[in-house]
């Protein structure tokens, strides 16, 4: 009935606006498609199934780390220790697997330990930020140094190899389909479920207006701690992928991914001020960063220029994303 009475010329932009409100990652999706096309132009091979699964196995870790970041950003928090958590989990599972001989049971046990470590790190962050009320940026920066210190204690030098069964599974195939494809599908399912969880809505409500959420009777502190805990779990999952991809332990491997995860979250349409965004957007953001890197390579940029071009390309992607969504929501 409402559509009948509303003026005709206002209907189309209104629908677009609603589309962007419901799917804030649409600009990211557009950028992603453009980047895929560009990749295809410069290196037709890069669109083959094989190349795409290669891309997936390299960037699955960043995707998971960005998802981790997204859940804290929902509540207008930030976690600058995701990379350090990933490093700590990486070296922890490597050492556990090595100590226990590297068989299948030892791998499973190591994964359980890794998840527990990630969860513990996330809880520590949550308590420091939400319960002790320290500034998220500074507090998680401090815990990141602390976690890195722990990682260096667990494995002082990079290089201990992962057991063959671990990385062969990650890089291998199951029923003729690359294992990472299953992982990606699993991730999609988990994100689908989490998007419907009470916690996701509560995190967004807290990020929207923490005072209003508190006055509404939401347990704000607990919700923020849960967000950090979830973040820690996803950082641990990211560490599993890093370990599968690099097949070795490195106490500093995740550090440089921290800010990439923040960039991915923003590219995916989340507001750093909280209250707005989707986890799937963060995944798309991570893929954009991955595709930019591979595009820079395929275009044949000289190695000394690669960083510069990557940086510029990410800036451009950010601008396009913001311009598109601003126009759509205006």
């Amino acid at each position: 009935m409402a559509s009948v009475s509303s003026p005709v010329h206002g209907a189309a932009p209104g629908r677009l606006k609603r589309l962007f409100e419901r799917y804030p990652f649409l600009p990211a999706l557009v950028i992603l498609v453009v980047l895929l096309a560009l990749n295809g132009v410069f290196a037709p091979n890069s669109l083959s199934f094989r190349a795409l699964t290669g891309l997936l196995s390299t960037y699955l870790a960043l995707m998971l780390l960005s998802v981790a970041q997204a859940y804290v950003v929902f509540a207008s928090d930030i976690d600058l220790s995701v990379g350090a958590i990933a490093s700590l989990v990486n070296v922890t599972i490597i050492v556990v697997m090595q100590q226990l001989g590297g068989g299948v049971p030892s791998v499973l046990l190591a994964l359980a330990v890794g998840l527990a470590v990630g969860l513990a790190c996330g809880l520590a962050n949550g308590i420091v930020v939400a319960a002790l009320r320290l500034q998220p940026i500074v507090a998680t920066f401090a815990t990141s140094i602390f976690f890195t210190g722990l990682a260096l204690y667990v494995l002082p030098v990079a290089g201990t190899p992962a057991p063959a069964v671990f990385w062969r599974t990650y890089g291998g195939r199951l029923l003729g389909v690359p294992f990472v494809v299953y992982l990606a599908l699993g991730l999609a399912l988990v994100l689908y479920l989490l998007a419907r969880s009470r916690l996701a809505t509560q995190l967004l409500a807290v990020g929207d207006d923490a005072q209003a959420a508190y006055q509404s009777g939401l347990p704000v502190t607990l919700i923020r701690i849960k967000g950090y805990a979830l973040c820690g779990l996803f950082a641990a999952l990211a560490a599993f992928c890093i370990t599968g991809d690099t097949a070795s332990g490195d106490p500093l491997v995740g550090g440089k991914m921290t800010l990439l995860s923040v960039a991915a979250v923003v590219l995916g349409g989340c507001a750093l001020s909280g209250g707005f965004g989707t986890a799937i957007g963060a995944v798309l953001g991570a893929l954009i960063i991955g595709l930019i890197n591979s595009l820079v390579f395929f275009v044949g940029t000289p190695s000394e220029w690669q960083n510069l071009v990557q940086g510029l390309a990410i800036l451009v992607a950010l601008m396009v994303g913001i311009m598109v969504s601003r126009r759509a929501r205006a």
């Binding site: 967004l204 409500a205 207006d209 005072q211 006055q215 509404s216 009777g217």
Partner: protein
């Protein structure tokens, strides 16, 4: 039997005593009206019941049992729901999510039961069917809604708690007639169910239409409770005013002659319209102090900020000293000689952490287009301005945050005195300031008026307004509802106009 009892409740924020002695008794199945002037403690009292403010002393009894309302969660568990005056909505979430936010229906413990959510939300949305507007839908994002629709969502959210005790702190301020009627019909239904409601409104006709009993609060103290059927608006207002009325009326006689002497208008505002105010017209003469009165948030601040150019306006014309003032932003209005002092020093005033000298100088810089700073010369300019206000400070190099709130405000005002403005807009300038500073401030304001400045003063403290303004415009719902001149400037008339009593 009483459902809810407040006994001797008090709450202080720093030095200001928001509630001194709050007593309240709510019976089951009644709509209990709370009434009082600005800052009398109505909202604080409500927040104490709802758990979002913890009282310093006193007892809260529910069904005769003393209870500790330790937080909003505890209040919800005890069966207390609240409509917040400033709303408690998550702007980026949908209407349905907001309605059910406090208790999202769950599926398998972990997930939101979308169908139950939609069903529950629909129950409350249906209550306001036909009056909420065409574009009001369960999946609409709250930030995209109009003010009245957002207020409806907050009402639905309060109703959705299904609590036996419901508090409505000014739920009708943005609603139109039909929406209010519908809301009252719902309240009557809830009364039938035996639920207890606290209701705050600034419209006297609404209070008498829906209320059963009224409790009058004055200066944080409960003055009286009576049945509305046995009383009339004038009697209620007299209770709000107290015995001080004659005093307040007698005091403000000072320089009314100044204004009447020179009738030349300095600032002329015609049909001024924007967010929160509508069709506001007035003129300020040289030497006149024009007061803006009425309850909080009726558009007074918004008008001043829009005049200064800090907020946009959509229609109307402003003339300053005969020339149109097309405000494109504060830079331009400042250069034209417009000064604005806000009571919210943290947001609009002091530059925290910077020295006092830097805090006095920004306007001088702007108006004279200074590029280089010579501290010596600037100090000589700053000193007389600060002395005029009797500002106490240790030295120009000390950070502004080393001063008390009152002295910080003096620094902010001194800023405008170095190069005399022609119009001074005061937006509740004495918020959180001690009494002696207030006296200094108003003495200076009167002096400035004597020098020919036009001054607009909005104060949330009615006594200040009555004592200092030569003329008072009472705001209600973003419009000027009444002008009080000369002997009409009494507390009684002010409240009468503010509450739109018939």
């Amino acid at each position: 039997m009483t459902k809810l009892t407040l006994r001797g409740v008090s709450k202080a924020y720093g030095a200001t005593q928001a509630v001194r002695r709050g007593d309240l008794e709510i019976a089951p199945g009644e709509v209990h009206v709370l009434i009082g002037s600005n800052g009398s403690g109505k909202s604080t009292l409500c927040k104490i019941v709802a758990g979002s403010v913890r009282p310093d002393a006193g007892a809260v009894l529910l069904d005769g049992e003393p209870v500790a309302v330790s937080g909003p969660q505890a209040a919800r568990a005890l069966g207390i729901g609240i409509f917040y005056q400033e709303l408690s909505l998550a702007g980026q979430r949908t209407v349905a999510e907001n309605i059910c936010l406090t208790d999202l229906p769950r599926k398998a413990g972990l997930f939101v039961d979308r169908r139950a959510l939609a069903e529950r939300a629909q129950r409350y949305i249906a209550l306001f069917e036909d009056v909420a507007g065409d574009d009001f839908a369960a999946d609409a994002v709250v930030d995209r809604l109009r003010a009245d629709q957002r207020q409806l969502v907050e009402i639905m959210k309060a109703l959705a708690t299904e609590a036996p005790v419901l508090i409505f702190d000014e739920p009708t301020s943005a609603l139109d007639r039909a929406q209010v009627e519908r809301f009252f019909a719902i309240l009557r239904g809830l009364k039938q169910e035996g639920r207890s409601m606290i209701f705050i409104s600034h419209r006297m006709d609404e209070i008498f239409a829906i209320g059963d009993r009224v409790t009058v609060i004055r200066d944080g103290e409960t003055v009286a409770t009576m049945a509305l059927a046995d009383t009339e608006p004038a009697a209620v207002i007299r209770l709000m005013v107290g015995e001080k009325d004659e005093l307040a009326a007698a005091a403000p006689q000072p320089a009314a002659a100044v204004a009447s002497g020179r009738a030349e208008p300095l600032l002329e505002v015609e049909g001024f319209t924007g967010a929160g105010f509508h069709d506001v017209s007035f003129a300020v003469a040289r030497g006149e102090i024009l007061g803006f009165g009425g309850l909080h948030g009726q558009g007074q601040s918004a008008v001043l900020r829009a005049l200064f150019g800090a907020l946009p306006h959509s229609a109307g014309s402003v003339r300053l000293a005969g020339r149109p003032l097309a405000s494109r932003g504060p830079r331009e209005t400042i250069r034209r000689g417009c000064a604005y002092v806000s009571g919210d020093r943290g947001r609009d005033g002091v530059i925290t952490g910077r020295p006092i000298l830097e805090n006095v100088m920004p306007i001088h810089y702007l108006r004279n287009r200074l590029v280089l700073a010579r501290p010596g010369a600037l100090r000589d300019k700053a000193r007389p301005a600060l002395e005029a206000l009797r500002t106490k400070f240790a030295g120009f190099g000390y950070p502004v945050s080393s001063l008390s709130g009152g002295n910080q405000q003096k620094i902010v005002i001194a800023r405008w005195l170095i190069d005399r403005p022609s119009v001074l807009l005061l937006d509740d300038p004495t918020k959180g300031i001690d009494l002696s500073t207030k006296a200094d401030l108003f003495a200076l304001i009167r002096e400035l008026a004597g020098e020919g400045l036009g001054i607009v003063l909005y104060s949330s403290e009615d006594a200040e307004l009555l004592a200092n303004a030569d003329r008072i415009l009472v705001f209600n719902g973003g419009r000027i509802s009444r002008e009080l001149v000369g002997d009409e400037r009494t507390r009684y008339n002010l409240y009468h106009a503010a509450y739109e009593a018939a």
